[in-house]
């Protein structure tokens, strides 16, 4: 381990600028783009340099590990990471922390949470629960007939939101009221195709769970094509500006807003602070989840789309 000490100190401040690394799940999801750009902007503001890396796909633990390792070599002072898997990259995180680097998880918790110095994230179970509670309330007396457009099977966020949604709507996993569930990888095309085929099987749907907004858009297109939009309550998570506009336009009833900008900014600030003073951010910081809808329901706190458009990301 003696070599590693040298590594951290010698390569570290070659350019004088504080270097901060960001590792997201992918480069593709608009949400991660928002994380990247907000972090970049914040780094610029505080005179730091941000190096943004990503896995090749959601679940690319190997790629994320390599990214962490390479950032350590590069001499960064802090690493912000959105782990694809809550346990997958703990070894690499530990190595980074052993070398005195501050590691903060964004968006997704690690398991255990103490594996990182701090976590800045949405409470994804809560976000799912809010989506479920809203849908349940909006359905009123009607018995739910749910289609679930999931993300990546086995993904941490996927599981948390899925479980949260079922809690919120009050259904058990595998309940007959669930007409079908399909993975979409958060891809609009896959979501559309999945929805089309599910509808061919059974079109008596009245509620749709979406892992995120790309999935919601795909599912929505399929519903629209079948003329089924009217009686169906569609929920989503993300709160990107386009998503909020979709809610405003009535394409879906609700989206649960996340605050990636907050995560990125606070993460970068913490990194800069650590580099300057050695002070570490710690613990779980819930960046919040806000229900956005123009059709509020009793029992679920919500904001309207006007508020949403002011606070949305992207």
């Amino acid at each position: 381990a003696c070599t590693s000490q040298k590594a951290a100190s010698s390569g570290g401040d070659s350019g004088g600028k504080i270097k901060i690394g960001l590792v997201t799940k992918t480069d593709s999801n608009p949400y991660f783009v928002e994380l990247r750009e907000s972090a970049k902007a914040e780094a610029d503001k505080s005179g730091a340099e941000l190096i943004a890396l990503a896995g090749k796909f959601d679940g690319d633990n190997d790629g994320q590990v390599a990214a962490l390792e390479n950032l350590v070599q590069q001499g960064v002072k802090a690493i912000l990471v959105t782990p694809s898997n809550s346990t997958g990259i703990l070894g690499a995180i530990k190595q980074a922390r052993d070398k005195g680097i501050l590691v903060i998880a964004l968006d997704t918790r690690t398991d255990p949470e103490s594996a990182v110095d701090a976590t800045l994230a949405t409470d994804n179970t809560e976000a799912g629960r809010l989506e479920g509670q809203y849908v349940k309330a909006a359905l009123g007396d009607r018995p739910p007939a749910v289609i679930m457009l999931d993300g990546t099977p086995g993904g941490t966020v996927d599981q948390q939101r899925h479980d949260g949604f079922l809690q919120g709507i009050g259904l058990a996993e595998g309940a007959p009221q669930i007409l079908g569930a399909e993975p979409t990888n958060g891809d609009q095309n896959k979501a559309q195709q999945a929805m089309e085929n599910l509808l061919q099987r059974n079109s008596s749907v009245n509620a749709v769970y979406n892992i995120n907004e790309p999935a919601a858009r795909g599912g929505q297109a399929a519903l629209q094509a079948r003329g089924l939009t009217d009686g169906v309550v569609v929920g989503a998570i993300d709160g990107g500006c386009q998503g909020v506009r979709d809610v405003q336009a009535g394409k879906y009833a609700v989206t649960v807003m996340q605050f990636p900008k907050k995560m990125a900014e606070q993460g970068v600030q913490a990194g800069v602070e650590f580099a300057r003073t050695g002070k570490k951010l710690s613990g779980f910081v819930n960046t919040g989840a806000v229900v956005i809808t123009d059709k509020p329901v009793p029992g679920v706190d919500s904001k309207d789309t006007a508020w949403g458009l002011q606070n949305c990301w992207g």
Partner: protein
Amino acid sequence: MATKALNRTSVAEFVLRTPAVGPALALLVAIVAFALTTDTFLRLDNLSLVVQQSLVVGTLALGQTLVILTAGIDLANAATAVLGTLLMAKLVLTGAPAPLALLTGLVVAAGIGAATGGIVTSLRLPPFIVTLGTLTIVTAVSRIYADGQSFPVTDGLLGFLGTRQYLFGQVEVTVGMGVALAMFLVLWYALTRTAWGKHVYAVGNDPEAARLSGIHVRRTVLSVYLVAGIVYGIAAWQALGRVPNADPNAFQTGNLDSITAVVLGGTSLFGGRGSVLGTLVGALIVSVLRSGLTQAGIDSLYQDVATGVLVILAVAVDRFSRRRQR
């Protein structure tokens, strides 16, 4: 020469020599199986949907067929189409007239095809690596250009191929189907009825023989990548008709999916043997499997297991129907 005229077999002969018969048989088997096991599969609206679902990958696969016939492979086709959708949609959103946006998308796609072909032919590099390179580059460029956004399409021209029509008040067809059919006919004609087509097959079959026969091998290969690029541009337009939203993350498995359609259609990955007709059938097989399995109420994970088995069975049917011919 030791031959015997057995004229009664000549109809069977003709049928068997048509290269797409094996795949068509596999398709038929799948359709019949789903017709028997589900009561929704054979409905007209479902069949129409199956065709619609195969349009984008089918179009990508048409271009892919050309490339594979020259013993190449194109890993960047879907990425090219995605960049096309982004250009079309974003340009319209930023105020460009729709026809110009459409044209830009098509031209850029064609340009990527031409550049790929240029590198493959002038440096004589393996198409797998070159298109892997363009895949990486084009995907990154798309993401940089989209800047974390996706672009909804409301323009009539861009969404035109999704326009639905009812024939006989029953059969739902889309403009995209017509375009796909037209494109197929043009390529079929070019491959089987023109000198260019003969050259494409010859170049893929034995490049050295083609060269010694005085064929412009490079020019032919280059033209194939160019035409394929144009086809990918049209695939972009098809995609906007299907999903009126340009998303940099779309069609990530489009390259493999299109190669699958081509190979299921009986075209050899070693070049020089195959047909666009087979490719159309191959693309339909994939859609039929996915739709039929869903109708049969099978969960997606088990659908995957079944699809894997059925895809292998489909080529097996093809091979056996061809072996009888020998």
